[in-house]
């Protein structure tokens, strides 16, 4: 077996192998294939801190979080072994909780539930009611066989002999009824099959053998005092074993000769003998992803089109700030983002504010949504040819109407996977703006994801009102509250990889013609400054701008400071911040609004020109 993807190449063979680490390395190595993650619906994992070696993880198939915790680990004359406890923590609203213990229900309603899950391996007494079964992983000394064995009850059952009642005497659990009765095996099997697929992929070897043992287990029963009592009820413990490499050696590893003969024992050629869920599992195939790519059934995982995000939002809603987060999010994952961006105004301000300008391709001047609608696909084609980016962001101008590009987006389907139309909404300005601007309303209506930004600048009451207004305009979009455009970009991506529909095409465009910015009468003007401005002068000008100036932004020098500062102004609120970088170009400000009286800015330009 080739273990070079999961164990050090130059390792000494007499050293113990950390088997749980080896299993997690299988997932890490396999996850370097985007395709693999989609095939198994992998949603990510996290290391438990300050506890026993453990991890939490999530897969698409279930809404809750899995826990894996090392319970025993040893190297003996047969090889290296570890026992790993498999836990499942249901999502707080998951129906499964109705069949789980009272203490599990109590844990799930606490505010700390999620943080307790993250650290569950340091508190196994807390986590015990969520334990589903036990996974054994073994590697023989010769390194020619590896086995995974899951042991779990078909149904985990605990009977409350005396029942549980609340204070008023109503039964929560009637006497003799089950406090716990859940399908532990089926739940645990889902994560084990995902791990198995990762083993197959990182060993580049198909699973060679499957064995199943059914053995009698016991249901538990307790009295009101917590004492165990006799219960004549049998449950079935199911043990599933998967082997890689040498079949005999692997079986021997997982189960010594003394173990009774398995109820099922077969290779990949006899899927008819296996339970359906196991026969259908991808672990039989993930050693050869290229071959899987040819099967219709797995086409969803082999979609290599870049993701397209349409980023919308009115002037000053925080698109550039959010875009910076998105760029860094992908850069730290070694993924390339391309941005199609354009700007009302004569200077590509945002280009200068974005870090790493080279990933920005500015299309022609004007609005991509209206005048350039014909060239989006050409732009996308060029970007794909030149950079083959993972994500393409189509950043529309603050005055663009996303409905105007829906048809164009539909034509892009062969080139890109439309991930979402994301609209940023400036919370403190929202009510005013939404009551006045058709474009702003359409931006909200068209969105799949609404990022309600600058929430720190509004009261709770106002926020509720804005939320209600947004919901009235758009019921189906995901609504996320943020501050400083600080939303995790991961939220934008529909990790639901089976979803085949094109989300942006779901909203039905209203019948009336769509407004573009020329219809709403917005204009823009640029002001240039050769010398640094006095801070006092600048702030006075900003404070006295007439309400017709909706948006002002730019980069200026400030007398007495070395660094250039970024000026941001939206509807009467302004902010100055360090550019954090040297600025060689001419200082400038761009104003956008309707019927603007710009005399104050004219004066400023005269003084510092």
């Amino acid at each position: 077996m080739n273990l070079s993807a999961i164990l050090p190449q130059q390792r000494r063979k007499d050293q113990p192998v950390n088997m749980p680490d080896l299993l997690m390395n299988c997932i890490l190595a396999a996850s370097q294939h985007e395709t693999f993650k989609r095939l198994i619906g992998w949603k990510g994992m996290s290391v438990c801190a300050k506890g026993t070696q453990g991890w939490t993880a999530k897969i698409k198939k279930r809404p809750g979080v899995y826990g894996l915790c090392t319970e025993n680990s040893l190297s003996d004359k047969t090889g290296h072994h570890a026992d790993i406890g498999i836990y499942y923590f249901p999502a707080p609203e998951e129906k499964l909780l109705d069949t789980m213990s009272i203490v599990a229900n109590l844990a799930a309603i606490q505010d700390e539930y999620m943080s307790n899950i993250r650290g569950f391996s340091g508190n196994t007494a807390w986590a015990a009611p969520f334990r589903m079964g036990s996974l054994k992983i073994s590697l023989d000394f010769a390194e020619d066989a590896l086995a995974l064995s899951l042991a779990a009850d078909k149904h985990k059952i605990t009977i409350a002999r005396d029942g549980v009642a609340d204070l008023s005497g109503q039964w929560v659990i009637s006497p003799g009824e089950a406090e716990e009765d859940f399908p532990a095996h089926a739940i645990a099997l889902d994560i084990v099959l995902a791990l198995g697929a990762a083993v197959t992929n990182s060993l580049e070897l198909p699973t060679t053998w499957y064995g199943q043992w059914l053995s009698p287990g016991e249901a538990s029963c307790y009295t009101a005092q917590g004492e165990p009592c006799f219960l004549d009820m049998e449950v079935t413990t199911i043990t599933d074993t998967f082997a890689w490499g040498d079949r005999k050696a692997a079986r021997e590893l997982a189960f010594p000769r003394s173990f009774p003969a398995p109820d099922i024992s077969c290779g990949p050629d006899r899927k008819d003998l296996m339970p359906e869920s196991i026969a259908q599992a991808v672990l039989w195939k993930t050693h050869d992803l290229a071959a899987m790519g040819k099967e219709e059934e797995y086409a969803y995982a082999f979609d290599s089109r870049p993701k397209l995000i349409v980023l919308s939002g009115f002037l000053g809603s925080g698109k550039t700030t959010f875009l910076n987060q998105l760029l860094e999010y992908h850069a730290s994952r070694d993924e390339l983002v391309a941005i199609i961006q354009n700007e009302v105004g004569q200077t590509g301000v945002d280009g200068k504010l974005l870090e790493g300008d080279d990933s920005i391709v500015e299309l022609d001047e004007g609005c991509v949504c209206c005048t350039l609608a014909g060239s989006i696909s050409r732009g996308v084609e060029q970007l794909r040819a030149r950079f083959n980016p993972k994500v393409i962001v189509l950043e529309t101008t603050g005055l663009a109407n996303p409905f105007n590009i829906l048809q164009e987006l539909d034509k892009l389907r062969p080139l890109v996977r439309l991930e979402s139309i994301t609209t940023l909404v400036d919370a403190p300005n929202a009510l005013n703006l939404l009551s006045q601007s058709d474009i702003a309303r359409d931006q909200v209506r068209a969105a799949d994801t609404i990022l309600l930004n600058k929430c720190d600048l509004t009261s709770k009451a106002e926020l509720d009102e804005v939320t209600a207004k947004l919901r009235q305009l758009n019921k189906r979009a995901a609504l996320i509250q943020t501050e400083y455009g600080n939303a995790k970009p991961g939220l934008l991506y529909d990790t639901d990889t089976l979803k085949q529909s094109i989300p942006g095409l779901l909203p039905s465009p209203p019948k009336a013609p769509h407004h573009d910015h020329t219809m709403e009468g917005y204009t823009s003007r640029r002001f240039a400054f050769t010398s640094p401005l006095s801070r006092e002068n600048l702030i006075r000008t900003l404070k006295n701008l007439p309400p017709e100036v909706f948006r002002l932004k730019g980069i200026v020098g400030i007398a007495g400071t070395e660094e250039a500062e970024v000026v941001q102004y939206v509807a009467g609120r302004y902010e100055l911040s360090r550019l954090g970088d040297s600025f060689e170009d001419e200082y400038f400000l761009v104003a956008i609004g309707k019927n603007m009286d710009l005399s104050a800015l004219d004066n400023l330009q005269e003084v510092y020109a």
Binding site: M45, W55, Y222, A224, D334
Partner: protein, 389 residues
């Protein structure tokens, strides 16, 4: 109580319990799952508290943290070659380029074009490779000088990593006087954090000045990597770290993490220091193991003063495990939970992440943004950070 009425859901019941309404009932009414007998009890693991001694102070000089100068070119090259699983030696980057284009490079072709020049004429070797490589101006490199003061005042110097571009690294070494320190054999060892291009491929630059320096690499190095050490003209004693903890001097240990890394690299080694009366200091190249695993391993295995995480320096890569909660800012949160008192970050940390550390009130030691380091939020090229007196 009647046996046949049941109209309280578990959720409502526990919500009542949470507000204290049925607290009394909890005590008396058979809370079965509270009973410890219901679940097997698992052995609690003890912290190992490995005592690796104490030192007085550690000073880090950032020789270079700018591994490459254009991220779009770097990521573009990787993607053009086929993605994150492509063997780094085939990407056709200097010094393993052969002029045949993306994904057509090979260790043997590349090294054969320059082998006779290593390590004495690295300038010429790099010029030759630049003509064959993709984006030849992109390489920079990661490297830092670590000066450790023992309790008795004895000083030790070490290098962590040796960068990428021969030219860039040679210039950086000269800027910080590393060339002379190597010539004078003042530097006691070179640790390579991992086999990636930007940390390891500049090896001949160190070799040019001292080809007998003790060298430590992870046992996850591939055969090409070990061959490159020989082909760079190394004549010293190579240590292939194969234990989780390798003590170096009192208060300094090398930690080994076995983790698959992109472009067919395996494993990262990082450094840990125990500073007297202060606590633990961690220094990493890229931290591909993830800050959470790095800190957790130290917590679970090492003994350090005040049982306190004191400082951290280096590239703080995001976790190799993409977190299951897309809202969870794992790097910012996981760094915060350990309570470091001095943070010097750069390289693969990310500028916005560094900014978020600062906004979160973390004690980030800011730099000067010189020598092509892009932001003062980074402990940049030529900047120094001291841990302990």
């Amino acid at each position: 109580m009647s046996n046949d009425t049941k109209n309280v859901s578990r959720r409502d019941f526990v919500k009542g319990a949470a507000t204290g309404l049925v607290a009394g009932a909890f005590a008396g009414m058979g809370m079965y799952s509270y009973s410890p007998w219901a679940y097997e009890r698992l052995p609690k693991t003890e912290r190992k508290m490995h005592d690796f001694g104490t030192c007085r102070s550690v000073r880090v000089t950032n020789i270079s943290e700018t591994s490459w100068f254009n991220n779009a070119h770097l990521i573009g090259d990787i993607h053009e070659a086929g993605g994150l699983l492509v063997n780094q030696y085939t990407l056709n980057w200097a010094p393993f380029a052969n002029g045949k284009g993306s994904a057509q490079g090979s260790y043997d072709d590349g090294i054969s074009s320059i082998k006779d020049l290593l390590p004495h004429d690295i300038e010429k070797a790099w010029e030759i490779q630049k003509k064959l490589a993709l984006h030849p101006e992109n390489p920079g490199g990661y490297s830092c000088l670590i000066e450790v003061e023992e309790l008795d005042g004895t000083m030790h110097k070490y290098l962590l990593d040796t960068g990428w571009s021969y030219k860039w690294m040679n210039d950086c070494f000269k800027r910080e006087g590393i060339d002379q320190m190597l010539r004078d054999q003042e530097i006691e060892a070179l640790f390579i954090s991992h086999e990636h291009w930007d940390h390891f491929w500049g090896l001949p630059v160190t070799m040019k000045y001292d080809n007998r320096i003790p060298l430590y690499v992870h046992d996850g190095f591939y055969d090409e990597g070990l061959q490159y050490i020989k082909d760079s003209g190394y004549k010293g004693e190579l240590t292939i770290a194969n234990k989780p903890v390798t003590p170096i001097i009192p208060g300094m240990a090398l930690l080994k993490f076995d983790v698959p890394i992109i472009n067919r690299v395996f494993g990262e080694t990082s450094l840990a220091f125990n500073i007297k009366d202060k606590g633990l200091v961690l220094i990493s190249g890229c931290c591909h193991q993830g800050i959470l695993k790095f800190a957790d391993f130290a917590y679970a295995n090492l003994k350090y003063d005040n049982d306190k995480f004191y400082g951290i320096y280096g590239g703080l890569h995001i976790s190799p495990f993409e977190d299951w909660d897309p809202k969870y800012d794992d790097l910012v949160i996981s760094l915060g939970q350990w309570g470091f008192e001095r943070i010097g970050c750069n390289h693969c940390t990310g500028h916005l992440t560094a900014k978020k550390f600062i906004e979160s009130g973390y004690p980030v030691v800011r730099g000067t943004a010189r020598f092509r380091s892009a932001s003062k939020d980074y402990l940049g090229n030529g900047d120094k950070i001291t841990f302990g007196c």
